[in-house]
Symmetry: C2
Subunit: 237 residues, 2 copies
DNA sequence: TTTCAACTCCCCATAAATGGTGAGGGGGCG
DNA sequence: CGCCCCCTCACCATTTATGGGGAGTTGAAA
């Protein structure tokens, strides 16, 4: 049986502030022997946080140009379940190739591996390692560190969220089962008549549930109520 | 440096079918030395899959009674980001206590640890270990196996998804940037007038984007389009 | 016993969404 | 060069959603 706790979990335990986390990212990059380590997250209110080792001028330029809109790492991971090697991403479009050229000029390596992480209220975080290496040595490195990278992604994210708030349980007004039924059927594309039929109630009754849910969610209209319920993990569709 | 690959990753590599995965779940339960191991998932179309070691009669009863609606493990993990020990869940409500009594009578242990896993299209999976133990020895066990359990959750989920389909990249009709802008603003609660103002376009133009997005997503109305876009990870709100 | 929440149902008037149709300019790709 | 997609704007008629109001029954908890 191997040691109880990974060395990087011990290292992250020392982290108490976001500044600590930024410093830890540099330590972890050095200990993992890669050129860059990046943790970037979007929380449920759209606020972003990044702890990374790229050059600050490149990061500012990336944000100013809104490169996330076309960066295959962000776009590709956003639609994938599992960790992905950058070779599996689509770099063929012309704006993407131009972007990649700029990135490489600014110190970004040709190899990368990214782990998407999702939370209960639509949060999305991305953990990436990046390195300049040939394909064979990169593949060896990746195979050898796969488990550690997945764990590292998980624990960095957990530590970032702990610092950001004390707990991760979502505080949301509780919807009644019928309110959830009503929003779920609307989210699956039924109109109100169909939803009322399905629940064997009148449209008037359905409307009461919709409006009550809308009020509890603090939504301005039905579309917003459905969106908030989905974002809070209250509906499965 | 420890071995390249975890023994359980090697074991899961042997899995080719869902039946293999079911068999592997029993092996893994024995090798991890717990009473039960459970993997349960809901995909983006609402279909469920479970590989678990509970008694079949109990599982059938659980499904028939729709216990997921009140099971604190399911309800609590659904709203949480991180893995959670069952002691941290809320078991105080009377129906919950009655449910727990039935569960214990049917072989479910008093200690549990669950790892929620989320996908890009609203998928939700839950990996759980369950055991009869006192608090102290359970805490020791959990601390010692924390990293392995997180990795096991990840790889079981990955294997289940691989078997279910060949790839995890989401095939969804690409929305144009303006279409995404339109749906995003509606998802944040703006009405059409406000959204048009924000984008500095007319409501007629906004409507063209909404209806085009609706068509691409195969949605029946605007609420459905927003729901599908969210479920497919196309919007950040 | 009282209170509260959940579930159930109804009406009128106004505003918004949808069905269905029309149109033009610009840029990129085959 | 032609085609296709993106971005932009408009109209009429019908259907649906919302604003705002009314009401009753049942079961659980304080």
């Amino acid at each position: 049986m191997r040691p109880k706790r990974e060395w990087f979990i011990e290292r992250l335990d020392l982290v108490k502030t976001l500044d600590d986390l930024n410093a830890a990212i540099f330590d972890l990059r050095d200990r993992f022997g890669v050129d860059h380590l990046i943790y970037h997250s979007v929380n449920s209110t759209g606020e972003q946080y990044a702890a990374l080792t790229y050059d600050k001028a490149w990061v500012d330029h990336y944000v100013r140009q809104d490169y996330a809109r076309l960066d295959p790492v962000v776009q590709g991971c956003y639609r994938r379940f599992h960790p992905v090697d950058w070779k599996q991403l689509d770099w063929t479009a012309k704006p993407t190739r131009l972007f990649l050229g700029e990135a490489v000029e600014n110190g970004v390596g040709n190899q990368g591996y990214s782990v998407p992480i999702r939370g209960p209220s639509g949060q999305f975080a991305l953990f990436t390692i990046n390195h300049r290496a040939n394909d064979d040595s990169w593949r060896l490195y990746r195979d050898e560190h796969l488990a550690d990278l997945i764990l590292l992604a998980h624990f960095i994210n957990q530590k970032a969220l702990e610092i950001e708030r004390g707990s991760d349980a979502i505080e949301v007004q509780k919807l009644s089962p019928r309110e959830i039924d009503a929003l779920t059927l609307l989210a699956t594309g039924m109109n109100r008549a169909q939803a009322a039929d399905t629940l064997a109630i009148s449209e008037h009754t359905l409307r009461v549930y919709i409006e009550s849910a809308r009020f509890k969610l603090g939504a301005t209209n039905t579309t917003h109520a459905v969106a908030r319920a989905l974002a809070h993990g209250l509906l499965v569709i």
